[in-house]
Symmetry: D3
Subunit: 174 residues, 6 copies
């Protein structure tokens, strides 16, 4: 992994209109459809960073706050926060807006992890991420903690070995 | 919340075939499409428990292991593990299979949380869950811990107050 | 066709939510969309029995009784009733429910026939079906009669040679 | 039902291209998707005859012969053969063609029955059909027999009372 | 290009129902969806003329007049007006109708240009068009003018060399 | 129309991945699907400028140059160039890229016109556009010419009265 790329090189903006088939009985965007939009946006972002085919490895905990009505415009903005060998963490900000009503509906955020693969589907290393802005630097730093949480939740790391994560729970000083 | 229902009353089985538009460039199911299927399955499950319109409140961390090729059959099996006032945690098991190749492809699991709402979209209480089998009981017990993790990750609970969660990290005895 | 499988080995349950694009001007599920759902459910069922790629050979007469409104949950339950060389008859029960209204909407049934094919699309023999429950046995027995009706309607069997079918019309004793 | 309309007044032609999501693992059109196309074509046909909202009442036995590959052009041609109070029988001819290969793939036919309804969904009478061409006349005559078969199969007519149907089985002279 | 075909040999009729996902917030057909329908109809038409795979080369200016509500029936009628080496101009007439309301909603027209290609995607000559009816002859004649406008707008022809086009602007006599 | 807004206030970026159902037999994006994407992107752009529901009024001549393969990423960038009472011209730049192949595939541009309407569908005035950059200024100036061409092509302006358009054909100095 000799090559390096700026976090902002992978910046991707995606805009979608909430169409009837995206909605539930209350005429609001279904959570699963938003998860699907975020996955496509994040996949494009990870492709931009790696110049590779990418596959979804995981999605972190996502909370849905306010309902997003039919006809709203959903804007997704994403970039790769940090790379670990063949895997990339993608940060996605979501904004929803009812434009004719001039009403910002909600803002949300999520983290998806993608793995770069070759044509046979085997993992392949990707460039390192160089963060520049304060926000990029903060997300680069905290990526380690989120990675530990993913590994613990997937049963691939013992909680007591998750040193960064313990810090999250302010337990490192207990 | 005077009424009670068995966990198994909400049991829902959903079977889907992976169609071309569900796949990525490698002809495998896209992660976001699976998240979408799980959301619909979990929503039906939460409806069965509450007899209410339900909206997605959150999805827990989900990991994707093996690729699921075009033409595979995806089976989702879900039930409500526990209810908290108007919210319900739904457990979803996913199995994918390439039937002509007689090959079980993967098994996965996820937790979605739904809130029951009335016609105006306001939260409304749902029946308590009565677990019966060992698996139902175990998931009922651990639901509290997962709920704390969700609240911590959403910034609505301080990590040091997440007593159940500290147990997960085997830190309660530190 | 030396191998045998139980009817219940192919049992498949599919659950779908009626989304906006599935509905007509009265906001009810379109008949053609239900026929499509039943075809996918039955195809998966026939795959489970044969462990082969399967193609739809025919659908028997299907009646639609009550309208199924937007937001309803449609549950399909299917199994292979009987096999004839490379073809399999699949029985599908459909239930529709408006869960928030606690209202069972309708119940319906249909028979689809599938042919198992190899990668070149040529028909290939499938295991025989062993019925166990009373319902499975009854559908196994009556499958012969339905097969004759299909052949008569397709112009591949002369009505007077359809001995089982004549029984249906209670004409064998005329 | 004082009004009368020619069979040809309802003639509808629909042309569809087989797109990737319409196909199965062998890259051929799925039977259920064709049933769906036929339902929409027949619904438009029944609307033209009745100038009413229409709902699918039944589809007769449909056989699928040859596979229709991805990229094929499917042409549907339909008209109302006969009306019975609020119900209309629609005849649909299907042709599939791989145009670049200059290959006619198959021809098929089906009968769908629709009921005209008012805005509350209640059945409402439709004009009588006046057949003109020989083909229209023949289908007008045989509609009675098919209607009896539908009623028998739906359990709403005793086989021995299906006088026209007995003729189909050449049993009227027994 | 030794072969010739009649304009009417490519005549294609396509009928579509406006479904919920085709509509905007006012429950009317979105312009982009109509452009999509016209493209598929015109592609089939160009295939019929050329017996080749065809790709869209351009769409001329299209105006949308009246809104087409959900549930309307849209009828497209198209034929190839003229061929130029490997390219074909397709004329498309669109009619929309709210059948239950017995209301013709709008009529529209458009011109799409397609190029015939071989399996490698390289352009390949197509038969000449022989117009027969007055309408076919008029569109055949004016095709040259529209082709010049397309070339000018694409920057591939200097306006002063567009002799036919200058006639359109009644400037040939200046 | 007292209010004014900057052209850049309406800037919208939309990113789409070419999925299987978007493609033709050669596995390339269908022209009609791209026209559909551009319509949605332009509609969002016009909404941002007007804070109103908008409907497509027309699309100018669009040329398609190179094929865009399955899996490509299509990026659309659009802004309102100029407003005329209730109508807005939207400029859309399209870039397609095969990211894993590090290959820019094509760049394209189009102009769509939208009309702002109130809840009854009646046209309503929108703010004037204030261009700032050189590109915005150039497109603002040339908008008049394109508007005349649209009116001429729609038969609503006589060619000889299209003073700006004559300039396009360099005929004003003849």
């Amino acid at each position: 992994m000799t090559k390096q790329k700026f976090a902002s090189d992978s910046l991707t903006t995606m805009t979608e209109m909430v169409l009837p088939n995206d909605t539930n009985t209350l005429n609001n965007l279904m959570g699963g459809r938003l998860l699907h939009m975020m996955d496509i946006c994040a996949a494009i972002t990870a492709q931009k960073h790696s110049n590779r085919i990418v596959v979804t490895a995981s999605v972190d905990n996502v909370s849905f706050s306010e309902p997003i009505p039919l006809g709203s415009v959903v804007t997704l903005r994403a970039w790769v926060t940090r790379a670990f060998n063949s895997s990339m963490e993608v940060y996605i900000e979501v904004h929803a807006e009812n434009i004719p009503a001039q009403k910002k509906i909600m803002s949300n955020k999520a983290f998806y992890t993608f793995v770069a693969v070759d044509q046979t589907g085997a993992p392949i290393d990707v460039p390192a991420v160089v963060p520049q802005s304060d926000e990029e630097k903060e997300l680069y730093e905290s990526a380690l903690r989120r990675r530990q949480l993913r590994l613990v939740l997937a049963g691939r790391l013992k909680p007591q070995d998750a040193t960064e994560l313990r810090a999250l729970f302010e337990l490192n000083d207990v």
